[in-house]
Subunit: 251 residues, 2 copies
Amino acid sequence: MVKKVKAALIIIGDEILSGRTEDANLNHLAIWLGGLGIILDEVRVIPDVGQRIIHTVNECRCSFDYVFTTGGIGPTHDDITAESVAKAFDVPLLLNEEARGLLEDNMGKGNLTEARLRMARIPEGASLIRNPVSSAPGFQMENVFVMAGIPVVMQSMLLDVENRISGGAEILSKAIHVFEGESLFAQMLGEIEECFEHLSVGSYPFYKAGKYGASFVLRSPVKADLDDALKDLKKRITNRGSDYFDGEAPE
Amino acid sequence: MVKKVKAALIIIGDEILSGRTEDANLNHLAIWLGGLGIILDEVRVIPDVGQRIIHTVNECRCSFDYVFTTGGIGPTHDDITAESVAKAFDVPLLLNEEARGLLEDNMGKGNLTEARLRMARIPEGASLIRNPVSSAPGFQMENVFVMAGIPVVMQSMLLDVENRISGGAEILSKAIHVFEGESLFAQMLGEIEECFEHLSVGSYPFYKAGKYGASFVLRSPVKADLDDALKDLKKRITNRGSDYFDGEAPE
């Protein structure tokens, strides 16, 4: 049996929902988790509203092995992720001395204004997640990892998260591409997927410079299955008189 | 009273969750909806799994004025959005003659293979959404709009969606930027937000080329409030001896 470990990402931020900012964390986290053998199984983008954060965190932490949040842990009035996560776990939000120390070391004791001290308020029982870029830490509360929204900061926090989580079998993938409509290959794709227990076959049409094509992506934790399935697919494509292309998807 | 109209977007696609493809529809739809006075209030990204699509569609269509889905309406075995939406509404999925006609016109009758005919299967009672790019239609079922995942196709479908939805008051926004830490401005931002009933003030830190800064974004459906609040904020920033910058956020 192949063990599946699943994660959810909660992106907290009005700026994403208004379209002002394009999220860059989803794709980075998806690829990073994939490398650890963890499946990103759902993403939610929600506004900076306390009740929504509480509800979403509670729903996701019961349904997924790991939950990651990004955004809302800065010093301003709209940064309400820490207090909302504390409420979700029904624990108090306390001034954390370790976090205060990290901020003091980075900013200097005299510069630790009331606003900046907000960033040292951490739910009781949480452990800090180091932020090598700008010191203000994230935190882990059980299976929930609360991280910054700024991509470079979020990515730096993953260094401290990596040794706290563990995945199942790594999902391997192979892709090939055709420059014909995906519908011509629909039947063979379905048939190949049926042949292997843990194989998933995705068909992703593209449309570039007036030309249609499709990428077929085979994914499986079992390398031998993946190799056999790819060989089978290539043979079937050739047999129907079509060409396929290996390597990166066409840009 | 300011009327608020809220929408949710459901992005259906393993390829987004695996990190293979970067979503481009969220940001486009967010901006497009904003222009119509509709607030994008939640986004969910879920895998190509029938039960997940059914559950998510049913949860969202009860909670939001409008629901948009992208992805999973092509001709291959992993395109299960139409059948899942039919199940969510508990109606049969039928071969739609109008949709078949559109496909025939575009592809020629002889080329309408069994796989392509899948794209003419539409839930009973739905109305079609025209696809000027590649003919295979989306559909509207009550307040749920089912669209393609390929960005250029999705965007072309919005032309046919625009006259079917109506928004509340358009949310106007103004932004200014500073090249100091946002924490220095935290108190004034909170105070200004308190002064106006429908005003929201967001603070979005950035970190570019080793330099910190923040964008302050004021949003309100009431233009006079927005102007007054911006004037107040600029005055307070100047009074504390700081500079602000108008216009686009720094890249």
